[in-house]
Symmetry: C2
Subunit: 520 residues, 2 copies
């Protein structure tokens, strides 16, 4: 590094003196002619000029407005081969910076055609998500502020708005108003944190201090969930060092809900074998079939045995915003923790997962570590988000949640949810009215599970091949994207409704494509 | 739910028939008069009309352009009391949706004045970050697409652009080009994943299958890092179930670098005591003093003992983009994993942490779990990002990284880094030239550590009080935000340079404020 390096970029011409401008705090970039100095390579290390930002930002906004107006210009599932994007791009970054227009043009040319469009009304695979208008703009402002709320002090607005918005959501869903909420990236992370708290809750085991390995005093530990629970429970248990044996999957009833008698029996059996039960994960809206575990009975069991009860309501919990669906969260007020994802069925762009807990002190005990450089004068009087999980850095995720909750309001959210529930019912009726199809699960929320089942065809292998080929043909249309699952071993088509732009016409089109593909 | 619920919101007037419009796929919202139908409560569940989005987006962009042009209109550290924002907001979400303008007005009125401005040129606390223009616009487009790349199939462009951009960064930093990179939210998460891989790497222990608890065959396990390593290592070790005893902190040398002889001695001692060493975490640019551990020697030790070597280069690694700083990553090519954060010193908005590994197969073995509903035809031929960590959902984070790397280019990135290094040197000179101050560590990157040390004052307690009061006074100015740490027990002021908009004038102002506060 040169001694006199300040303000002297490596490619600076002999006749310019940007250092002097910098010293006076002036931007040498010309507002009237953005990019020209850059093109001459004079100030390669400068950020975009504010006027260049304005013009570039308008163009990006224009592209998005067009995208939102005509999402169906794009295939929901793209026609792209593995490796195509990699092969189409250079293997090194450019030496010289490029103008934003060229980058945006490349974005438009390369990215949307190779993107699976989760923000498309024909997206009915997995649980639906929506990057709604107010949510997108919330994310934009979040990136501009670039607030990092690891500590209250490093992001007071972000920290407190997280408290406010998660409180709003709590009340909207009818959960206990004194619960504490924090926003994480995904439900997988929220469930990991919840089960870390569960492990800490068994405080006599001193796991924070002594760990799990090489201890002769420690029994095998166990977490319970149903056979239909999300794979994130498996991942959390593995991560926490409990191993695959640390998770026991409880059989389900005819409706694919956890069988609480089987749970009870498993706990009794484990206790007799010297295993220490730690926690039960109940699910409100399982991923495969949207089943709702019998939380009230499970809560009884957890209470009797002193186990942590975590509820995975990542998708289904939002439905409780409707008075007529409030019952899906029955018993959840007795949970120790609960996760619900506004980035799923609440129109907030990825990522935004809320972990609620009525025992935030335990969650904090599992994770809090404060090095000297992160001590602040107000510690003790404020919530420092870094104390509630692994991630130290925290984005201002509550901003987009605030925007979405306010823009739609309770009435708007309820109207959208009711529409999705009704659309799913309508599709269910069509399936039920067509003798060549068979519904494979009740419609509890906005997901419909069914298969083509021609009269006389009984071989499960043939039925799977038939329906897998229907899936392929529907998805290759580019108009609609659906997924599949297995329901009690039977291959099922899975249509998940929930994007804010999905209308009856899209569901109708999905149904028509499925029937065509089935040769019906 | 009503049988005929489709299209019938709960507050629908008797004379309208929005259901019919919806069936025809028409948006009832008037382009010329956005919000008017909403105001009448007719279509509360609809997303923002595209033209309303355009107009609202322009206004958000305008606000940001103004913010970027005059960041110093805002206090970098706000004057706000704990609870102030919570008290200023209602405790329930609104019943009716609100127009975007009102929300944006509230944002402008409430949020920036209560935000610690990480994107401010006077932000010199912690490691600097920058929400650069191209990065902000990358995040905007990411939110609009709302791509979720858990599987290649669900985000081909996002998956492959992550491969391309992390490859670019790898080459920019001179790391082995065949390493695999994945983007996580934060370095804490990346380090957790790396140590989960280290645990899996000891495959004879069968931890994935059998876990750690209640096993008589398992020795205590141990991870090593220096006393100066980041608290995220402690958190990762706790999370993985190794407990506080599972992390052994190795003393440092006079330069606060890990003492490799002490590391070796600790391993020998642990082995003799029946402990099984798993991994060493070396740091390139420690948080407190930016020390660089002697990675080549540590790599020798790891190789000899069969230990996983993870390098935390979250901040410092980026400096290797400069040929003259390439040596900071010496030996890192022998690491098993390495984390570097483009959201720190590479001008990408939060969050973007890259975890590199030369053993992605081990990382995958630690986390991969594929339920039926996530099987896809191309599995085996593609990389599915969900296999490389806890989080299932993956945002399109590579988009902003792509934008930033292209917009600045190698030359631009190098120019900015050189400027920051030079600014830190300049501040160091001022400190060294002033007899009333004392520098407490060498300036290896862009962080300067020093304290006021009036002649004759020897009591460490008094020195701490003096410097803590300087810190308070500087930070209460609202112009500059600096942090503190302890260097070998001595309280140090910590000035971290690295925001893209920080110029000599800001560093000069910081120095002036510090001297004023010191009464110098």
């Amino acid at each position: 590094m040169e001694e006199t390096g300040i303000g002297e970029g490596p490619r600076q011409g002999p006749d310019t003196d940007p250092g002097a401008l910098r010293d006076r705090g002036l931007h040498p970039g010309s507002h009237g002619d953005p990019g020209s100095l850059r093109d001459r390579g004079l100030h390669p290390g400068w950020d975009m000029d504010p006027e260049e930002f304005r013009a570039s930002g308008y163009r990006a906004i224009d592209w998005i407005a067009g995208f939102l107006a005509r999402p169906e210009d794009w295939r929901v599932l793209p026609r792209v081969e593995p490796g195509e994007i990699v092969r189409g791009l250079p293997d090194r970054l450019p030496v010289e910076g490029e103008p934003f227009d060229r980058i945006l043009a490349d974005f438009q040319r390369l990215i949307p055609q190779a993107t699976t469009h989760w923000n498309h009304p024909g997206f009915m695979a997995y649980f639906a998500t929506t990057g709604s208008g107010p949510g997108i703009l919330g994310e934009l402002l979040c990136a501009a502020l670039n607030s990092q709320a690891m500590l209250w002090r490093t992001g007071p607005a972000a920290t407190e708005l997280e408290q406010v918005t998660t409180g709003w959501l709590l009340r909207l869903l009818g959960l206990p108003p004194d619960w504490d909420g924090t926003i994480n990236d995904t439900a997988s992370t929220s469930t990991l944190y919840a089960l870390a708290a569960a492990r800490e809750f068994a405080s006599d085991l001193q796991i924070r201090e002594l760990g799990l390995a090489g201890r002769l005093d420690l029994p095998p530990l166990r977490v319970y969930c149903s056979e239909e629970a999300h794979s994130s429970v498996d991942k959390a248990v593995l991560t926490l060092g409990l191993g695959r044996v640390g998770l026991r999957k409880i059989p389900t009833d005819h409706d694919l809900r956890m069988n609480p008698r089987a749970l009870e029996a498993a706990i009794v059996e484990d206790l007799a074998a010297g295993v220490r039960p730690l926690a039960v994960v109940a699910t409100v809206g399982t991923t495969s079939t949207t089943a709702v575990d019998p939380v009230p009975v499970i809560a009884d069991i957890c209470e009797a045995e002193g186990l942590w009860l975590h509820v995975d309501a990542a998708y289904g919990g939002v439905a409780a915003a409707l008075p007529e669906m409030r019952a899906v969260l029955a018993g959840c007020e007795r949970a120790d923790s609960l996760v619900v994802n506004p980035h799923k069925w609440l129109f907030v762009p990825m990522d935004c997962s809320v972990l609620y807990s009525r025992r935030p002190d335990v969650l904090k005990r599992a994770f809090s570590l404060v090095p000297e450089y992160l001590t602040t004068p107000e510690s003790g009087r404020v919530k420092n988000l870094m104390d509630y999980g692994v991630a130290l850095g925290r984005r201002f995720r509550s901003l987009k949640l605030w925007f979405v909750l306010r823009y739609f309001g309770e009435v708007g959210i309820q109207a959208a949810l009711r529409e999705h529930l009704a659309l799913a019912q309508r599709l269910g009726e069509w399936v039920d009215d067509d003798a060549r199809f068979e519904r494979l699960a009740p419609i509890r929320f906005s997901v419909v599970l069914f298969r083509a089942h021609p009269a006389g065809l009984v071989d499960e292998g043939e039925l799977e091949r038939l329906n897998a080929s229907i899936l392929d043909r529907v998805n290759s249309s580019g108009e609609i994207f659906i997924s599949h699952t297995k329901v009690r071993g039977r291959y099922a088509l899975r249509v998940a409704i929930g994007n804010l732009r999905t209308r009856l016409e899209h569901v109708r089109r999905a149904w028509d494509l499925i029937r065509e593909a089935a040769g019906a």
